[in-house]
């Protein structure tokens, strides 16, 4: 028995992994070169991104495969959707890297290298998940994508925020451990039901023909999905989200909110694609999770006063939207989820970048954003656009189209209760983001004279902390992406 390795196809995963090794080697060889570490991270991520291009260009039904067994089953196979998700994860990683450049290049010895290795490792895991062809690869990749993030959360530089960060890390870690245990249990049951660890539609179809095995298979699928759902912050596996997002350093939060979600979606897509062999089974569990996530996420986001917490809950809700099309087991559903995730990721990245930029000058409370549209339109307008994209309101047409795409499978297969819940959540979601927008659009002038003087003093003291060029560049790039997507939503869906 021999494996056909096909390392070129594996490049998207290998590039960050190799870069991680390089960083560690470099750190041993030349410890002070912190900036260089980060450059290597960037190169690794970008290299991986470039390597996804062949996968992206292939047509529907084609696969870039690697680690193939003689009988033709491949443990790594990337469709165009997979490649798209990989690209999204890698580029989001780059954005996070740029965002966190200052933060990560400081600190006592070895911190930069550790962070760099963790980021690269986690990203490699994320990139590998959607391409997993068997349960083993899936388990390994998911854990690779998850464990480093727990460490990243804990690695807060500022002592004052250290306890909160550790709390966040513990919350993430415990949830992920239990989830992994469930996932392992699910994987075991899957093997019991189908008799193989390869995620193949044929085996599933055979198993689905036998009622007893079908029940087992469904249980396995539910356990596996539950094991991955925490990463997408689906209710009821969401409890860690606000804690961790709030406690973690903002760039890491951004990483969790974007890159990590790709892994989650990738995993769910892998399972769901395999299950689509069992025709006619629509996974009620996914539907319930989607409905709950949206509703609870939006409702709680509606009463938040802190932008980061608000975004945390908003990712819970958006997680629901990502899961929504998957309730219909079809390739259309998975593509829709991928497209939605892409829009969500770009918009969320943009929102986080602005929140970071504003946070450095004013704070992260909602009231700190008052009058931003007038005070600093270069921050305010992009943020507003990102929020609109998340809300799905034109002129951010891309967000709207994403919602259309996500709703289409549900409306198409006639799961009406879910569709109506989703429709109501559109409104609820709009309420959430408009609440923020309203603050942005408010008049900047403070209410009374005392506050005015205070604000003036504050403005003078913070006037010199201009937005760093890196942030401006990120904002420009991300905004351009969203605007371009709004004008011509081509290639995303």
């Amino acid at each position: 028995m021999s494996l056909d390795l096909n390392l070129v196809a594996l490049l998207p995963v290998l590039a960050p992994a190799v870069a991680a090794v390089l960083v560690l080697v470099l750190d041993i060889a030349w410890p002070p070169a912190r900036a260089t570490h980060l450059v290597v991270v960037g190169l690794g991520l970008l290299g991986g991104a470039v390597a996804t291009v062949p996968g992206l260009l292939q047509g529907r039904g084609e696969r870039v495969a690697a680690l193939c067994l003689p009988d033709g089953t491949c443990l790594y196979q990337a469709s165009s959707l997979t490649s798209g998700l990989q690209l999204l994860a890698l580029l989001s990683g780059v954005v996070v890297l740029v965002l966190a450049w200052d933060d990560w290049s400081h600190g006592e010895g070895g911190r930069t290298a550790v962070i760099a290795a963790l980021v690269l490792g986690a990203t490699a895991g994320v990139v590998a998940v959607p391409a997993a062809g068997d349960l083993g690869t899936l388990l390994v990749a998911l854990e690779l994508a998850t464990l480093p993030t727990a460490a990243l959360v804990a690695l807060e530089r500022r002592a004052s925020r250290q306890p909160a960060a550790v709390d966040g890390a513990v919350a993430l870690l415990t949830t992920s451990l239990v989830s992994f245990a469930l996932l392992a249990l699910g994987a075991a049951l899957w093997v019991v039901a189908t008799g193989t660890a390869v995620l193949s539609g044929d085996a599933v179809a055979v198993a689905a023909a036998d009622p007893a095995r079908l029940s087992l298979l469904t249980l396995a699928a539910v356990l596996a999905l539950a094991g991955m759902a925490f990463k997408v912050s689906a209710v009821p596996f969401h409890a860690w989200t606000p804690l961790t997002y709030h406690g973690a350093p903002l760039p890491v939060t951004t990483y969790l909110a974007t890159v990590s979600k790709v892994a989650a979606l990738g995993g769910v897509v892998v399972i769901v694609t395999a299950l689509s062999g069992a025709s006619g089974t629509s996974l009620l569990a996914v539907a319930v999770m989607a409905a709950l996530s949206m509703t609870v996420g939006n409702a709680v986001a509606l009463v938040q006063t802190d932008t980061v917490r608000l975004l945390a809950w908003s990712t819970v809700a958006q997680g629901g939207w990502v899961l929504l099309p998957l309730a219909d087991l079809s390739s259309r559903g998975t593509r829709a989820a991928g497209g939605y995730l892409a829009v969500y990721a770009v918009a969320t990245l943009l929102a986080f970048v602005v929140v970071v930029a504003v946070g450095a000058r004013r704070g992260v409370l909602l009231t700190d954003h008052r009058g931003l549209l007038r005070d600093s339109p270069l921050l305010g307008l992009p943020l507003a656009f990102a929020l609109l994209a998340l809300a799905g309101l034109p002129p951010a047409v891309v967000g709207l189209v994403a919602k259309v795409v996500a709703l289409r499978p549900v409306a198409g297969d006639g799961t009406w209760w879910l569709a109506v819940v989703a429709a109501l959540n559109v409104a609820l979601g709009i309420a959430v983001y408009l609440r923020w927008l309203r603050v942005l659009a408010q008049h900047p002038e403070p209410v009374d004279a005392l506050a005015a003087a205070e604000a003036e003093a504050q403005t003078r003291s913070t006037a010199h902390t201009a937005v760093p060029a890196r942030h401006t560049a990120l904002i420009a790039v991300l905004t351009t992406l969203l605007v371009a997507g709004s004008v011509a939503p081509v290639g995303i869906f």
Binding site: S179, T218, L219, L225, P236, H238, P242, A299, V300, L302
Partner: protein, 658 residues
């Protein structure tokens, strides 16, 4: 029984050849006043003079066009059907929007145009100092145009258009002096009462239209004549409801006396030639259908008969002569409608239309003359108007002629038209379905002496000899609690006061007087196709009754200082009559208050229940948010409980409910 029937008279004098106008006369008759109204409104911005010239020219042209139409119709020249802005592309429904003229409608149009012209001329004088003369003149022009549209309409939609526009114009005219609260109220009342009744009119016309799928009157008549039945009855009853509103039949009668709040020219127009008569015109157009439905005919007969009697009684007791005239209008219009129901099946509506024309002439005359007197004497309350014709000789003749015609004294026009109604009612009694005719006959028989009575009363008051100051008082002193107002020093300045009326206005009144006198020949003209049911004993009996009533009133007036026979009535009755027997209160309690209560209920429901759900949704979302946040664990261990519980639930859902 003699039947006076002329075929189309071949020997009408040949007029000099008219210029060959494009279009039909009816189009001009309708379009000119409407255009004049628009022009007066636009051009008369700065000067009342321009406005006056515009509307009067318009009215003259209208009258000319109407006369031309009458002539051409009588010689059978023009096409009788002409187009307006139609036909409308309304899908399955054919809406040709045509005008159609017949001899009857043509002569009605002439009468309307004539009254409108006189009113316009008169109004120029009457409202000389009114800053809003321009609006008034334009509205009057619009009003007459709308009436002419109804008269000449060949399409129920056009009828409805004219009908509603008249209602609106009446609102504007009655409320012309809008700084006066009573005028505002009266205007609103006029509009709302008639509009409420129009509910039936609209539905009735719609129901009629739905049969043939066409709004052309000819189509409607053809269709329903072929298949009468319950549907037709319902539709006609609905139409009658609308007619009852506009023509102030019971129970809608009360808006009309209140409409006296408008300036006198407006009252003359509303009461004489236009709005209230429109019901008669419409029913005359739909006459075959009215005759085809006995329930409808009977209903109308009952309503009209009750109204004519009630209104005549109320007219008698009014302390204000203008209101007396108003109630007499109610009575007379009801008489026209009663006539429609009484005419034997198979005959045309000519007698009713004749009374319409005759009433238009003498009632316009009466209103304008009384308005003139009001200007001279300071008002139309009995206490102001008393001795009016003695002090101001120039109003003597018009008022006298008008009252005689109203009372139905031969040989004036009023006598002729009323006797013809009486005759046809009598003929109707002998027809197959005598019910309506019987009711009407009784009502007309009882109404004639009542009319004579209130006319006599009015005349006695107006013609009381002038009291010379310090003259010894004789007889009973029933109404001497208040001193008689000193309105004008006798004999001094009377001539100046009388001369103040403009000569055109005076000429208009004179014309109307003349026509009232000679109008009795109208049924002999070829335009009317009257079955003359001459019943001499009936005629004599009615005249005798009238004479007796007049004498009774004369006797009752003796000894009252104002020679007001009504002063003999108990004060309670007088008051009740002045208030229209509390109809206003009834409207308020039966319709207005419940509606307002309902409205308040609806807004409460809207606010507390319907909107309550919306607000509750908002609150629920917020509550859910707070609850979600509170119950979301902030420590790792409980969140793990949540995770495992979630798995359990999902597993149950996934495996069991799959």
């Amino acid at each position: 029984m003699t039947s006076l029937q002329w075929p189309d008279l071949p020997d009408l004098p040949a007029l000099p050849p008219l210029p060959d106008f494009p279009g039909a006369a009816a189009q001009y008759v309708v379009a000119i006043p409407l255009l004049a109204a628009l022009l007066a409104f636009l051009l008369g911005r700065t000067s009342s003079r321009t406005a006056a010239w515009t509307v009067v020219t318009g009215a003259v042209l209208t009258l000319g066009a109407a006369t031309w139409q009458l002539y051409t119709i009588s010689v059978g020249v023009v096409p009788r059907v002409s187009e307006t802005v139609g036909p409308l592309a309304l899908g399955e429904l054919t809406v040709p929007l045509t005008l159609s003229a017949s001899p009857l409608t043509a002569i009605t149009a002439v009468a309307v145009a004539l009254v409108a012209l006189v009113v316009q001329v008169y109004a120029r004088w009457y409202l000389w100092y009114d800053p809003r003369y321009r609006q008034f003149a334009a509205t009057v022009s619009l009003f007459s145009g709308a009436m002419l549209l109804v008269v000449l309409s060949g399409d129920v939609v056009l009828t409805l258009v004219g009908w509603e526009v008249m209602g609106w114009c009446s609102y504007l005219l009655v409320g012309h002096i809008s700084a006066k609260a009573s005028a505002r109220r009266a205007a609103a009342k006029a509009l709302l009462v008639t509009r409420f009744a129009d509910l039936g009119f609209v539905l009735g016309l719609v129901a009629l239209t739905a049969g043939p799928g066409s709004t052309a009157i000819a189509d409607i008549v053809d269709h329903w004549r072929a298949e009468p039945g319950t549907a037709l009855t319902v539709a006609m009853l609905l139409v009658i409801m609308g007619v009852a509103g506009k023509s102030a039949l019971v129970p809608f009668q009360d808006w009309l006396p209140d409409a006296m709040e408008g300036p006198t020219p407006a009252s003359a127009l509303i009461h004489a030639a236009t709005m209230v008569a429109a019901g008669t015109v419409v029913l005359a157009q739909l006459f075959p259908l009215l005759q085809a439905s006995d329930p409808a005919r009977t209903t109308l007969a009952v309503l009209a008969s009750a109204t004519t009697l009630l209104a005549a009684l109320l007219a008698f007791a009014q302390p204000d002569l203008k209101r007396l005239l108003a109630w007499s209008t109610v009575s007379q219009v009801a008489l026209m409608l009663a006539a429609l129901t009484a005419i034997p099946v198979g005959e045309g509506p000519d007698t009713a239309v004749l009374h319409l024309v005759s009433h238009a002439l003498f009632k316009a005359l009466l209103f304008l003359a009384l308005g003139w007197l009001a200007v001279l004497a300071g008002g139309t309350l009995v206490s102001y108007a008393v001795s009016g014709v003695r002090r101001y000789g120039s109003v003597r003749r018009p008022l006298g002629i008008g009252l005689l015609a109203l009372a139905g004294v031969p040989p004036l026009v009023g006598f002729v038209s009323k006797e013809l109604i009486l005759g046809s009612a009598e003929a109707g009694v002998q027809a197959a379905t005598p019910g309506p005719a019987l009711i009407v006959l009784a009502a007309v028989g009882a109404g004639a002496p009542l009319t004579a009575a209130y006319c006599m009363r009015a005349w006695l008051i107006l013609s009381r000899p002038v009291l010379v100051r310090g003259n010894g008082r004789t007889g009973e002193q029933l109404d001497d609690f208040f001193a008689e107002p000193e309105v004008m020093v006798e004999a001094v300045g009377v001539e100046e006061a009388e001369a103040a009326i403009s000569s055109p206005a005076r000429a208009g009144i004179t014309t109307l007087s003349l026509l009232t006198v000679v109008g009795g020949v109208l049924p002999l003209t070829p335009f009317f196709d009257v079955e003359l049911h001459l019943n001499v004993p009936l005629l004599v009996a009615s005249l005798l009754l009238m004479a007796a009533a007049a004498l009774f009133v004369l006797a009752a007036s003796r000894g009252v200082r104002t020679r007001d026979a009504a002063a003999r009535l108990p004060a309670v009755l007088n008051l009740a009559a002045e208030r229209g027997l509390g109809a206003d209160t009834a409207y308020l309690t039966l319709v207005a208050r419940p509606t307002m209560a309902l409205a308040r209920g609806v807004t409460w429901l809207d606010r507390e229940v319907l909107d309550g759900y919306v607000r509750a949704a908002g609150r629920a979302a917020r509550l859910l948010g707070r609850g979600g946040e509170r119950w979301s664990p902030v420590q790792p261990a409980p969140s793990l409980v949540l995770v495992l519980a979630g798995v359990l639930v999902l597993a149950v859902i996934g495996v069991v409910l799959r």
